[in-house]
Amino acid sequence: MTNKVWVYIDQFKGAPNPASWEALGLAKTIAAPMNSGVTAVVLGSGMDAVVQKAFANGADSVMVCDDATLTDYRVEPYAAVFTKMVSEGKPEIVFGATSTRGRDIFSASAADLNTGVIVDATEVVSQDGALVATRPVYAGKLLSKVVCKERRPQMILLRPRAFPAPVETVGKSGEVIKVAAVLDENSIVTKVAEYIVEEGQVSVDSAAVIVSGGRGVNGPEGFEPISKLAAVLGGAVGASRAAVDAGWIPYVHQVGQTGKVVSPDLYIAVGISGAVQHQAGMRTAKVIVAINKDAEAPIFNLAKYGVVGDLFQIVPALTEEFKKRLGK
């Protein structure tokens, strides 16, 4: 049996995007008053563990396409089977996590299905038979409320870390619906040659803790103390545009309007003045700490805790302090 509310589970090489479970949590609360369960959609190859995880996170049934053509993420085979599943299963609502893949698949399938996509939702409420989503626009300076009133399904991607993750119940299970792939390898024009991945790095996208460096770190070697602090805290290394443009650190680390938008529990801004474009990428962090030698830096208007001083003294001292406290 398929349900009225579906959740697309984003995964990369078998590792689920944790924001997918947040979507599953929201889906449960939206589905309950509709007297519906929640169907999780899993696409990939070797997906048994992901399917189990979906049940553990609250899925009532799982629809899975487990196929060799889905080993590497490519929009053509993923969107093709997703479109087919949705057009046949006719859900009212499909949730997912905002990610590079989520945007691809949802927008491509929405075009196939002649419906709309809402992306980066930070709040979703049911109102007059449709879901009203709140989402930041204009780099987070404004909020908009948007709705897909008439067309179905309503396809909504949630901003990572904007919704609580459900508590896992290990050992839960339910109906698994297997679906065959739509495209065969010969009809897929995109071929993946390889991946270039920075080893051992935590990505800023879903990190709970981010330590970011800016102009004040003074050079590529200035990111060493920052990386050490991030490592002790199990967090990711972020950067301001100034540091990226100076070539001190690759672009994947950039937080801000022309970089990533992040929402960690803890954001430590080191040597970052906090221009409005940087704020656009991190202002929704739960706790913001600023370390800067300039007491007038705008970042202090946003921060909860601030240290006015030399980052090259404060950051290593903080790293040592957390090593002691966290037993590392």
Partner: protein, 264 residues
């Protein structure tokens, strides 16, 4: 090789925005080419310089968007077209994508349609993928490097930036490609370019010129509607400055505060 860069005119990223009756305004702040789209325009110029053909910039928007296209001419685009019609007002992602796909079709013989990854006003980042779908072309998003193009075999190799790292893939042309920062360094307009652009007359395409179905464009064709737009509620944060006689003391006090927040 013919390349189309799709650009949007947006308020400047530093503009102070005001909202009144669900209408956003930005005072004296200038309107600019969406910063992400500058990378798309630059890439179209680089590819034209390498392979020949033409670089065409198109924009959908009000008459004022002509200025964004003049900027594209000033940096070196060969042709520009403005898609502007009162019936397009109220377009969402799907009606915009439908309109742009029709415009790209009208230009004809296009190998590559380039987009910035998203526009800094609506911030959806969905339009390029829908354009690809409407055209039936290959879609490659978040491209940080075009590694190679074979204009004869009609193949392309790119590096895509995903959350986990770069995905290197090959695909077939024609393709819709959305680009991210880092792919190139957009050039500044030359003096000659600015003069040329100032004198240029930019053709305007109306809905009828593109053969658009009225039910699919503007507010009528929009799947997603904006009910409300308002400024971000001001978060009252007063920073607590941590002080101490040594870095170690400051670090210990700050660590206390952070631990008490239960965020680690």
């Amino acid at each position: 090789m013919n390349i189309v860069a799709c650009v949007k005119q947006t308020p400047d990223s530093a503009a102070k925005l005001q909202v009144e009756n669900n209408h956003v305004s930005w005072g004296d702040s200038p309107l600019i080419v969406n910063p992400w789209d500058e990378y798309a325009v630059e890439e179209s110029l680089l590819l034209r310089e390498k392979f020949g053909g033409k670089s065409v910039a198109i924009s959908m928007g009000p008459e004022s968007a002509m200025e964004a296209l003049k900027t594209c001419l000033a940096v070196g685009c060969d042709e520009t077209y403005l898609i502007s019609d009162p019936v397009l007002k109220g377009s969402d992602v799907s009606s915009t994508a439908y309109t742009l796909a029709k415009a790209i079709g009208k230009i004809g013989d296009v190998d590559l349609a380039l987009f910035g990854r998203q526009a800094i006003d609506g911030d959806t980042g969905l339009t390029s993928s829908q354009v690809a779908r409407y055209l039936g072309w290959t879609l490659l998003t978040y491209v940080i490097k075009i590694v190679e193009i074979d204009p004869v075999a009609k193949t392309i190799k790119v590096e895509r930036m995903m959350e986990e790292g770069r995905q290197v893939c090959t695909a077939k042309l024609p393709a819709v490609v959305s680009v991210v920062k880092g792919i190139n360094e957009p050039r500044y307009p030359s003096f000659m370019g600015i003069r040329k652009a100032a004198k240029a007359t930019i053709p305007v395409w109306k809905a009828a010129d593109l053969g658009l179905e009225p039910s699919k464009v503007g507010a009528a064709g929009a799947a997603v509607t904006w009910m409300d737009i308002y400024p971000l509620p001001v978060k009252e944060t007063k920073v607590e400055i941590i002080q101490g006689s040594s870095p170690e003391e400051i670090a210990a006090k700050l660590a206390d505060k952070i631990m008490a927040e239960k965020v680690i």
